[in-house]
């Protein structure tokens, strides 16, 4: 069992948003090892918060939560950090320092496995650049291996962040909108690579998406989130047009709080 959530609620980390209540509200979800799930829903629905909760980034305020059959928040600090090495969270904006070289940024995915001296040595002379090359090649970026990150376009950076995911040894990929800077062709290629990799190593893939058609086309199971609640959780064959329409209906235009929360989405991505 990869993830089990029972009635999990999560509060926004910043006090300023306390008045908004819970970012996740009594979410119950069971994810088997190796499952591939798309998270969809309007902006501010809690997709990012859910991914961060799965990644053990911050503790739920109530409910039961377990990852790989252990409860991370009952563990000691250090043990929980070891558990995090088995989860790979790819944030929406690729977390690559602009002045770093691509090879170093990609190999940073190996850091949890490397000891201190190995990490330092790799800064001076990259340790097995081959695996970085192979990972980049799966996104057609192999000739950027020794370029600096700030020479890459937005879409290239996003795929470079995915290449870091490929070199990690994680058992679960938690990917937050991997397609936001990609054109339709690259979007398909990226989703395909992610799913292929997850399938070969039997890793769980949870991916939040704004492209509903792609979610329905590629993912066998769809979870719809709205206002921090699971609206539906169904195999793709059972997801109807009406369910999608209801999920996105009106984007809550006459609700000032909801508008506010979609406006502050980058803040949410930042704290978590």
């Amino acid at each position: 069992m990869s993830f089990v959530l029972r009635e999990v609620s999560v509060r926004h980390a910043s006090a300023a948003r306390a008045d908004l209540g819970h970012a996740l509200n009594a979410v119950t979800l069971t994810i088997e090892q190796g499952e591939q799930i798309a998270l969809i829903g309007p902006s501010g629905a809690g997709k990012t918060t859910l991914l961060h909760t799965l990644a053990c980034a911050h503790p739920p305020t109530s409910g039961e939560f377990s990852v790989f059959d252990t409860q991370p928040w009952t563990l000691q600090h250090a043990a929980r950090h070891v558990l995090r090495a088995r989860l790979f969270l790819a944030p929406q904006t690729p977390p690559l320092p602009p002045r770093q070289r691509v090879v170093t940024a990609v190999l940073a995915g190996c850091l949890p496995q490397w000891g201190f001296w190995k990490s330092i040595a790799s800064l001076i002379k990259p340790r097995n650049p081959d695996i970085a090359y192979d990972a980049l090649a799966r996104f057609d970026l192999q000739d950027k291996l020794y370029s600096r990150v700030d020479r890459l376009s937005g879409g290239e950076r996003q795929r470079c962040g995915m290449a870091r995911l490929l070199v990690s040894r994680a058992d679960a990929f938690l990917v937050d909108e991997p397609l936001s800077a990609l054109d339709p062709t690259l979007s398909r290629q990226t989703l395909h690579t992610l799913q292929e990799e997850a399938a070969t190593r039997n890793a769980t893939l949870v991916c939040s998406l704004h492209q509903v058609e792609l979610a329905l086309e590629y993912f066998p199971r769809i979870v719809g989130l709205r206002d921090g609640r699971v609206v539906f959780d169904a195999p793709r064959a059972e997801v109807t047009e009406a369910m999608i329409a209801a999920l996105y209906r009106n984007a809550k235009q006459d609700d000032p709080i909801a508008l506010n929360s979609s406006a502050t989405e980058p803040v949410e991505a930042h704290f978590a």
Partner: protein, 275 residues
């Protein structure tokens, strides 16, 4: 006029009060510091100044003196560099302890654990103690312990500057973009790995430019410490001043300007390489 009455600036009163308080506090400070600039312009001091300044031109340039200067300059640079290197050895571990942004517990809950917060506070206090004693005072103390000579200067710079570097490094790291290092911590990297792969590349050029600026300050500081017997160009300057040898002093001042300009070039070069 009507709009002014209708929309009074709420900050106006506060500004007036702050200015008034600043003036009231500044006046006793001027009195206490015996600030009397007109003394500069009475006939006697003008005469003394003029005699000293007139000797500045031409600067001393006998080859014997220049060779002496070269050696003293080299010693000054060596004191500054050795002192700063030792300071870095002290500052880097203290920075790691004092930086909040690399705290895993803060990432989880927005707060640090009590033990972690305590260690951080201790590191901060140590940094305060180190830098609150000026290098000149350290030098005076150390000259008594290790005797006259450059060793006292090197140790004095190492002590004060490790406090300054540690504090500012921690602040630079905390104010720079934390996204990269947070993501690394999030995915299970150790704190040191997150520092080297996330935080340093994000803040590298600021750290380098602050370090070279501190190196420049260390050169000036080692000159001042020369006056209390810590070697280098400052000690020579002390002797020349006491003998009222204006020509020698002016050569030394020119050397100072060249040294600072040189430090500036080094800083620009390094920033370009990293930028």
């Amino acid at each position: 006029m009507r709009s002014r009455a209708a929309h009074p600036d709420p900050a106006w009163r506060g500004r007036i009060t702050a200015t008034a308080i600043a003036l009231i506090l500044l006046w006793p400070m001027l009195v206490a510091s015996e600030f009397k600039p007109w003394i500069l312009f009475d006939a006697q001091s003008l005469n003394a100044t003029w005699n000293f300044l007139a000797a500045f031109f031409p600067p001393a340039h006998s080859s014997e003196f220049l060779a002496l200067m070269l050696e003293a300059t080299w010693q000054t640079i060596a004191i500054a560099t050795a002192g700063l290197t030792l300071a870095l050895l002290g500052a880097i571990p203290l920075t790691l302890l004092a930086t909040e942004s690399l705290s895993i517990s803060r990432l989880e809950s927005g707060r640090m654990r009590i033990a972690g917060a305590f260690v951080r506070q201790c590191a901060r206090w140590l940094l305060v103690v180190l830098r609150s004693v000026p290098e000149l005072v350290w030098a005076l103390l150390l000259v008594r312990i290790v005797g006259l000579g450059p060793t006292a200067g090197v140790l004095a710079i190492a002590l004060t500057y490790s406090g300054m570097l540690g504090k500012v490094y921690a602040e630079i790291l905390e104010s720079s973009e934390a996204h990269a290092s947070e993501a690394l911590l999030q995915n299970g990297s150790s704190r040191l790995a997150a520092l080297f792969y996330g935080a340093l590349p994000a803040a590298g050029s600021e750290l380098v430019s602050y370090t070279t600026y501190r190196w420049e300050c260390a050169i000036r500081g080692s000159v001042v410490m020369g006056f209390v017997g810590a070697g280098g160009i400052g000690q020579r300057m002390d002797e020349s001043m006491k003998m009222l040898a204006g020509a020698e002093v002016s050569t030394m001042l020119i050397i100072f300007v060249l040294l600072v300009a040189g430090a500036d070039l080094v800083s620009t070069f390094l920033r370009k390489r990293l930028g």
